[in-house]
Symmetry: D2
């Protein structure tokens, strides 16, 4: 299982507070716990050539993790298109937090992916609503995060194939925080938490969800379906 | 209820056989039975300015019906984008047959929308798998079409929100022929039959499904959700 | 459209506070606003012969509304079975609040339908997560109820076919408060609010949701599917 | 991973043809290939005390496979209830072929589970409609079975959580042949093929699907959700 953790890596350069929380970058923290979980893990960032997502890298990636926020528009359409194609071909994709507004997520969803938001150091409680799902394995009834950014409904996404977590926020909102989607042969998991100024990705329960998510999103081995003009498999009298 | 029937209207110009089957164009036939069903119905075609889909037309359209095939690429991105936005804002969309490969359907789905196909004058039998759904109201156990083009699985779409019809084809394939999707406030119905050389849209059961589909896809009246930065509804201590 | 509002009608007899809030019984209040909405509406209660749900009554009922709480076990299996069959045959069913633990709901779901609960006069905010759905038509972004009983996740139901509302509770929980399910030809809508000591069913937004729900749950007119041994529709060589 | 293969084992006693196809019983054939796939596998049959499904056996079973046909009514309600509870607690359940009419499947579905059927030695082709799902891993575009019993729509089940296979039959019908459902913490997979007079369970692709199904249906390790009266997690002013 080969995982690539992609991070826009911009807040870490410009905001001292973020650098203090994530001295190795958000990608560094995420790749560290994924390695510990036994996955072969590399990182890639926006400033690298081809944003670090060359054909070679993507072809060897089983699951791609995506964190972006202020620089969504700097990701070139060519790379978005390449990632999109790889997802349809079976690569798993885990979109974190503000990645809801990334070009890749929006193009896979077909909707605006808009939502309500607020930075107010408020408490979030992610309730498990799918207790038999492999992504919630090992998680208690809920995950509590003392301080997080709020994301609130309506979250403008297609109906998720599976709803795993629903968040409660102190300020009065709720949010569908863990959602899965199938696109082509690829499996997609959107997971809400992870604002850059909070140590969310050090939380062991959050780490467990992401580790589970990678396992769940792994491609299956099978031939690509055949499309286009097809000979009949049975005799067609009218032909 | 205002319906706009959009047709690429190209086969009708270039193929005598199609012109014989649909002397008023596919859009003419469809709009005729929708009017009979009591809907205020207009048509629009590719060759018109802005493809007949001006802001004014779209803003007054409750449900848009889409038939296209050989000229998908001639539909400008600007118009596709406009239609896309209107769907998210609540306009219903019914995509027929080869419209599966239209820019608008693909951008709403986020997948290739590819499939198998074959023109062999073969029998199609559309089985109802959702007998309680309003779109299948008044339809028997199945609709039989003596001659149709074959579309076969795998159909590369996201998991439909609802699966209404599954087709059996003489040549040995099956197809998810009636599928609904939600995108934003808009409801989308994909309905498979309707190859240009067959009189499919004169079939009363097919007409009934499309009439039902228009009723189902009608927008609901409600305010658009509010997105963006939001004040808390409850006191947030950490703020 | 004929609606029957069924109420266990027990709290109204034994609890003065409930009688003060609902002097005509919960069924009386609900049937009153449904009549005002234009539906032909009758009521039925537990203490009546056959619980008021004779074959005749059920056969003439398009949508049945169900409120029960302390006397679920007093509803006879025979009547539960009769209602169950009518739902499969197409009668709509709207299950309110503590009806989650009714025999009829549990038998249709196949799960325990268990949940967390608390009576603490706390605020509930029901957020709309399906803004294009006919049941949420005319409803704002959320419905706020100053005082309600809390129901919390995990709610042990099958994955709903559609999730319409998610509740936020002051005490820190969330709940999938508006859920639809299909069973046979019947449509089922579970709607959470309505504890007997609060004037919830006088709330105009709550009334609107129930009125919308009745319209949505109406049976479609079509023949019952045929089951059992079937002659082939095509020649089967091996036969 | 511990698998228990349950078989009614009646046709094997009464029908010479079945005995010739499955000399060790259908359960013997299925358990043999599951053992080969590396699962610790036991069998249980109707005629054993408690139908071989004692508390002890079920508590140690991760995934239960169910084949039954002519003796569904001989399975006692007590055992059905016990299996039902174990599924809700997380045990995986794979229901094969005529098990669609078993008490356990019907009680988990809440519907009649009725369908059309025909024994005419006809060809079945199971098309994969979910190419990214772990249960279809390693399977080609379709599985072809030269002779099988026909099952046809309408199949009276709740909307499946996931639809994996759709069958084409020579006689003109289609069927949703591979369906998953979640109930409580348990995962359920219904898989259509396997009439007793055909050597279906020797087919390697069919075996692969069942092996994949067992892996998919395995319980997740997590604590059972807490239900019932709950203290607030946040201060509730009105309390």
């Amino acid at each position: 299982m080969k995982v690539t953790v992609w991070n826009e890596n911009r807040h870490e350069q410009t905001n001292k507070k973020v650098r203090e929380v994530y001295p190795e970058g958000i990608h560094g923290t995420i790749s560290a716990f994924l390695k510990e979980a036994g996955y072969e893990t590399e990182t890639a960032t926006l400033e690298q050539p081809e944003h670090g997502l060359t054909e070679e890298v993507l072809n060897q990636t089983d699951v791609l993790i995506w964190w972006g926020h202020v620089a969504h528009h700097e990701v070139t359409d060519e790379i978005v298109s390449r990632v999109h194609q790889r997802v349809l071909d079976g690569m798993g994709l885990i979109v974190l937090h503000s990645g809801h507004f990334s070009k890749i997520f929006k193009s896979l969803m077909g909707t605006t992916c808009d939502l309500k938001w607020r930075e107010a150091n408020e408490k979030e409680r992610l309730w498990v609503v799918a207790p038999g799902h492999p992504i919630t394995e090992g998680i208690g009834e809920y995950i509590e995060l003392e301080k997080e950014e709020m994301y609130g409904e309506h979250f403008d996404i297609p109906t998720p194939d599976e709803l795993l977590f629903v968040s409660w926020f102190q300020g009065g909102e709720v949010f569908r925080s863990g959602c899965t989607f199938n696109r082509g042969k690829g499996k997609i998991f959107y997971f809400r938490p992870g604002h850059e100024t909070y140590p969310t990705y050090y939380n062991e329960q959050i780490q467990r969800v992401i580790v589970n998510g990678v396992k769940w999103a792994a491609p299956v081995e099978r031939e690509k379906p055949v499309y286009g003009n097809a000979k009949p498999l049975e005799e067609v009298p009218g032909e």
